[in-house]
């Protein structure tokens, strides 16, 4: 684009009205591309992204990847060590461990997505409304969050499972509820920052109502930091749900949930350590992958680390 494209305007023809650098049709898409470049410029984040992508692909194509059904007993000899036909060995019922770990990826993705969706949605709304409203509503909301925050997440999750009953679905809900205070506090602090920016005052001065201020002005601006928290939160949720399953409060047999597999492998650890080894590794790699990705996104969003 050159200056010849600049239309003569009725008011002023000053040199400042020139297309900004690179001009043209750079819109939201350009920003997305730059963001992706920033994420992939970070080696850890790139590894994290590839691992997460692999996990998702494994979950989607589990029935093609896994040589056996996850619940098929006697797929091989009981407690046989890893070999060419059973890469991760077999468990006490002769089920193929590789197939079980592969199908377990589905459950793990589900846990991560559902638990984080619950805590993110509710926590974000609580923090947003608390930070926006001020006054007594803010005090009630945020002090209740503080009270919940003073209990450890595991305790809240255990209490929720105790009420709801043990199952994987309830474990997801419990883990989601337990993390709400954390997301609420983050959303609250970001909302306080945003509501003091002039663009917010400008919207108030323009006469915007509550809904417009909350969902058109504040919400889009508090989402980026919450995405970082949510990505890191997936690993915490996966770990917490695996923990509940390990305690027998989450996924029930014969479900191929990694935490539950760890738990049932405990009895055979001396004779068949692979029953615990591979689900454990899978949990570790998943947690690592989401942590790397979350850190990468955080750095990419941090303006101080840009252009370096």
């Amino acid at each position: 684009m050159t200056d010849t494209n600049v239309q003569a305007t009725s008011v002023v023809a000053d040199p400042e009205i020139r297309p900004v650098i690179n001009g043209g049709q750079r819109s939201g898409r350009g920003r997305t591309i730059r963001f992706m470049q920033a994420v992939f410029g970070n080696r850890g984040a790139a590894i994290g992204f590839i691992l997460v992508l692999t996990l998702v692909l494994v979950a989607i194509f589990a029935s093609w990847i896994a040589p056996f059904d996850s619940d098929q007993m006697g797929a091989g000899k009981r407690l046989s060590p890893p070999d060419a036909s059973h890469w991760f060995g077999t468990d006490e019922f002769g089920r193929d461990m590789f197939s079980r770990v592969v199908f377990g990826a589905r459950l793990t993705i589900q846990v991560g997505v559902i638990a984080v969706s619950i805590s993110l949605t509710i926590g974000m709304l609580l923090g947003l409304i608390g930070g926006y409203a001020g006054g007594w509503l803010e005090k009630i909301l945020m002090r209740s969050v503080d009270v919940l925050f003073s209990f450890t997440e595991t305790l809240i999750a255990l209490a929720a499972v105790a009420v709801l009953g043990p199952s994987l679905t309830n474990a997801m809900i419990a883990v989601g509820i337990a993390a709400i205070p954390f997301y609420a506090r983050v959303a609250y602090s970001v909302t306080l920052v945003e509501r003091n920016r002039p663009y917010f005052e400008a919207a108030v001065a323009a006469g915007a109502g509550h809904m417009r201020l909350l969902f058109r002005h504040l919400l889009p601006n508090i989402i980026p930091p919450l995405i970082v928290v949510a990505t890191l939160g997936v690993s915490a949720a996966v770990l917490a749900a695996a923990g509940l399953s390990f305690l027998g409060l989450g996924a029930q047999p014969p479900s191929p949930e990694w935490g539950a597999m760890l738990s049932s492998g405990r009895d055979y650890f001396n004779r068949a350590p692979w029953i615990m080894l591979y689900p454990g590794l899978a949990i570790m790699i998943t947690v690592l992958a989401f942590n790397l990705l979350g850190d990468g996104i955080r750095e990419a969003l941090d303006p101080r680390q840009r252009n370096t």
């Binding site: 000053d14 400042e16 920016r197 400008a202």
Partner: protein, 326 residues
């Protein structure tokens, strides 16, 4: 009263704003800041009142309190003869169309996640002034009016320069045909050359639409260029108010004299009056000095200035100042 239509558009009467100062473990109120103290002025239709003073003297608080972004602690804000100082947020929404604001910082005063067209069109949507299709048309008109290209409407704020962003802010304020725009240091963050073009834009828009401005600035030369009348503020109070020519040619308050003597003169041959250097800093607004707030730095202060608060009175025809000694 039916004579209101010919009266002042905006009449501020003894407006004050006090902010609580909290301290200690329990965050109790331990004091208050008199950011705005008994401020009165009027703005007529099509007029620009320049409000000038040092940083922290309460100029911006005056602007934000008029818009009720801060609740006033006392006094009246009469817009078209109606006192809006006690209006609820809901009642305010009805009159916000008449009162608009352009902020200082062109970067943070535009929502980074909205396109320029959405930003300028938002007041129209809020006040139901245009249907969806008309709105785009209207926004395009506003873009042309402030010297932006309508084909840049769908860009995001970060894709514009500082001066262009300030034009977007002006277009947003102007879109709903307001009666008065509060320009809060609106050109202070811009380069000098761009300042000039934005000021000329504001003057031209005023000629076209008859909008009034409350133009808040710390820059005497900018104030001199744009204002019809000038009010000088010091520590929350107005110390002098008069037509521009009177304030600049014959300042009556010692503070105004000191401010004017600090304005650089471009021609070294024409020497202005002796430079008046003020000693010390502006006193803390939490504990302002008694009597005349300015007596701690005033070159001509006397004993009574430390005790009596000088009233703003007409010292010369149409020229008000708050000083015992003039």
């Amino acid at each position: 009263m039916n004579t209101l239509a010919s009266g002042p558009l905006l009449k501020i009467d003894r407006l004050s704003k006090r902010f609580p100062v909290r301290g200690g473990v329990l965050r109790r109120v331990v004091g208050k800041v008199n950011a705005v103290d008994d401020v009165s002025f009027e703005i007529n239709r099509g007029e620009t009142l320049g409000l000038v003073g040092e940083s922290g003297c309460g100029k911006s608080t005056v602007g934000k309190t008029i818009l009720k972004l801060h609740e006033p602690s006392g006094g009246a804000i009469c817009l078209d003869g109606k006192d809006i100082s006690q209006y609820s947020p809901r009642q305010m929404r009805g009159v916000r169309r008449k009162l608009q604001i352009v902020f200082q910082d062109p970067y943070s005063s535009l929502n980074p996640r909205m396109t320029a067209a959405d930003i300028v069109g938002e007041p129209l949507a809020i006040h139901g002034l245009a249907h969806r299709r008309d709105q785009r048309q209207r926004v395009a008109e506003m873009f042309e009016r402030v010297g932006l290209r309508p084909d840049q409407m769908d860009r995001f704020p970060h894709e514009f320069s500082g001066g262009q962003r300030q034009r977007i802010s002006i277009a947003r304020a102007l879109a709903v045909d307001p009666e008065i725009i509060i320009a809060d240091e609106s050109v202070s963050a811009l380069d000098v050359s761009i300042q000039a073009s934005v000021i000329n834009l504001l003057i031209r828009l005023q000629q076209q639409t008859g909008v009034s401005f409350l133009f808040i600035s710390h820059d005497m030369s900018v104030i001199e260029h744009i204002s019809h009348r000038v009010a000088v503020m010091y520590l929350g109070r107005i110390v002098e108010i008069a037509e521009r020519s009177k304030v600049f040619a014959h300042p009556l308050h010692p503070y105004t004299e000191a401010l004017l003597s600090a304005v650089p003169v471009p021609d070294p041959a024409t020497r202005r009056k002796k430079r008046i250097l003020l000693s010390g800093d502006v006193p803390s607004p939490i504990k302002p000095p008694p009597g005349c707030h300015f007596h701690t730095r005033c070159p001509i202060a006397e004993a009574r200035c430390r005790i009596d608060v000088p009233a703003l009175r007409e010292i010369a025809p149409g020229h008000m100042a708050a000083c015992h000694l003039r």
